[in-house]
């Protein structure tokens, strides 16, 4: 589903964030990506989302060579990927409902369909009762779950998460991970960047470890 073939990313100022990454993630997998901060986890996710382009190597996502996607095609590519951010990236001037609805509005769904899907997504993350609340009134864990609902509402085939449990206590973190496992079980490819080794080594999934931009371990 996601294939890195000797991918490197060098920034303009000369710093090499990723070097010679080769890895293959299957469609039914949930994979953790770990390493110290600055090891290149975020850069790897940004390459998949086409926020950045690789300097060298080939990256194939869902059968598409990303080098072939031009600027015009980037929004369409991002619509096929759900993303959960560490800082949630919610819009604080609109309700939970409208935050979750955003990807559907962008994709041009009809209002009735939007309502149906948003409520289904909020139901999955256990926040159906909060649809009218403003994000600012929610706890950190709840905000993160709104972010997850927004990431999955358009039923993407791939779900990326960048430190989704970064600011949460262990109990909440475990809960969030269970949500990701549930999505993986219904066929979504999930890639989670996290430095919470204690948490992710308890879950039985493949772990990719990055150190200074190199893939140093790839174990199931």
């Amino acid at each position: 589903m996601i294939t890195f073939d000797r991918v490197s990313k060098r920034y303009a100022e000369g710093h090499e964030a990723l070097s010679e990454i080769s890895v293959d993630i299957r469609q039914d997998e949930l994979v953790f990506l770990t390493g110290h901060s600055g090891a290149g986890k975020s850069t790897l996710l940004r390459l998949i989302m086409l926020i950045e382009r690789p300097s060298r190597g080939q990256l194939i996502v869902d059968g598409q060579n990303l080098a072939k996607i031009r600027a015009r095609g980037v929004p369409g590519h991002r619509r096929n990927i759900g993303v959960v951010f560490q800082n949630h990236q919610l819009l604080f001037d609109r309700s939970v409902y409208h935050n979750v609805a955003l990807p559907l509005v962008i994709a041009g769904y009809e209002q009735r369909e939007v309502g149906r899907r948003v409520r289904a997504a909020l139901d999955k993350v256990g926040l159906l009762a909060k649809e009218r609340a403003l994000p600012i009134t929610l706890s950190g864990g709840e905000q993160q779950r709104v972010g997850i609902a927004r990431a999955v509402v358009a039923r993407p085939r791939i779900l990326l998460a960048d430190e989704p449990t970064g600011n949460l206590d262990p109990a909440l973190s475990a809960e969030i991970m269970q949500l990701f496992e549930a999505f993986n079980q219904v066929g979504v490819t999930v890639l989670i960047a996290s430095h919470d080794l204690a948490l992710i080594s308890r879950l039985r999934h493949r772990i990719l470890t990055l150190r200074d931009g190199r893939l140093v371990s790839n174990r199931a």
Partner: protein
């Protein structure tokens, strides 16, 4: 092609058509949402929006009011245009009899209101009185002046110039003079004023576009984070652009509306003294306004300028805001 094939094809065509319709509906939906949302945002800040509307309104009202003033002046000068007089100098060989015959002939024409005959003798007398050259003229052995017919065209007749050409071609007429010099001067003056108004309008319109561009730039800055999030979850440039274009449209339309209002208020303010002045000149002149179409044009123009300003701001600033 088998029956199954063609069936699959039909279904393929109909699903792609359904997808197209779905996308079109979504696009239309987002236009509706953007328009409503932008309007709500504009109305949410009544004071600053009102100020923007007024600035645009004043900038548009100035050239619009001058244009209305010019229109009124043109109407006045049109009224003066019709009774212009034609002077027909007849050939020197024409006898008084022939001249009178031509006068009768012309008087019967429907496009001529009146013909006054000034005989060469009368003309000489008048000239010697008025010019003070009586002695010199007396010393001439023959009268150098021709007979003159003063022709006043009928007010409902067509352009004077056509009549002028026709009469000039008559063999009995030596020269036909259309006394329009003052009218030409007036028309030149009007043309000059029109150009000044146009230049002023161009400058002010450019100003309006810049003001709107700047207003939209500020709107973009204040929603920077939102734009980043929308781009992260796959919003296209068109999707991000739309609400700002609508914001520009609403500012422009409001500005055009205020401009029409200001012009109407100015005309109402001037209406009474103008009517009194016209009365004093025994004229039935009435101050013309923008009218419904003119006001609508102003609103549409405002909307277009708003879109233009927004487009400039959006194309300059939106591209720079990208997820980091």
């Amino acid at each position: 092609m088998s029956a199954a094939d063609s069936k699959a094809r039909r279904e393929g065509a109909s699903t792609s058509r359904a997808r197209l319709r779905h996308r079109f509906n979504g696009w239309l939906n987002h236009h509706r949402l953007s328009a409503a949302d932008s309007l709500a945002r504009v109305l949410d800040n009544p004071v600053s929006s009102l100020l923007t509307w007024l600035v645009i309104g004043i900038a548009l009202a100035l050239p619009a009011a001058l244009d209305v003033a010019l229109d009124n002046a043109r109407q006045l000068s049109d009224k003066w245009d019709s009774p212009a007089q034609l002077s027909l100098f007849l050939t020197a060989t024409a006898s008084a009899e022939q001249s009178r015959e031509l006068q009768r002939e012309l008087q019967e024409r429907p496009d001529i209101a009146a013909v006054v005959f000034v005989s060469r003798e009368a003309a000489l007398q008048e000239f010697s009185q008025l010019s003070g050259f009586a002695d010199v003229l007396d010393s001439l052995d023959s009268n150098p002046l021709p007979d003159l017919l003063l022709v006043t065209p009928a007010p409902e007749a067509g352009p004077v110039t056509a009549l002028h050409q026709e009469l000039a071609a008559d063999p009995r007429v030596a020269e036909a003079v259309l006394d329009m010099a003052w009218l030409e001067r007036l028309n030149t003056l009007m043309e000059l004023s029109r150009r000044i108004v146009l230049a002023l309008a161009a400058v002010l319109v450019a100003g309006v576009v810049l003001i709107l561009g700047n207003t939209i730039r500020l709107a973009i800055e204040s929603r920077r984070e939102e734009i980043v999030v929308v781009k992260l979850v796959g919003g296209s440039n068109g999707f991000v652009r739309r609400p700002f274009l609508y914001t520009g449209l609403w500012y422009g339309v409001g500005g055009g509306f205020f401009a029409a209002l200001l012009v109407a208020a100015a005309l109402w303010f001037l209406g009474e003294p103008v009517a009194r002045l016209a009365e004093l000149y025994q004229s039935s002149f009435e101050l013309g306004g923008l009218g419904l179409m003119g006001s609508l044009n102003l609103v549409v123009l405002g909307g277009l300028l708003g879109l233009t300003g927004a487009w400039l701001a959006v194309s300059r600033h939106l591209g720079r805001i990208a997820p980091r």
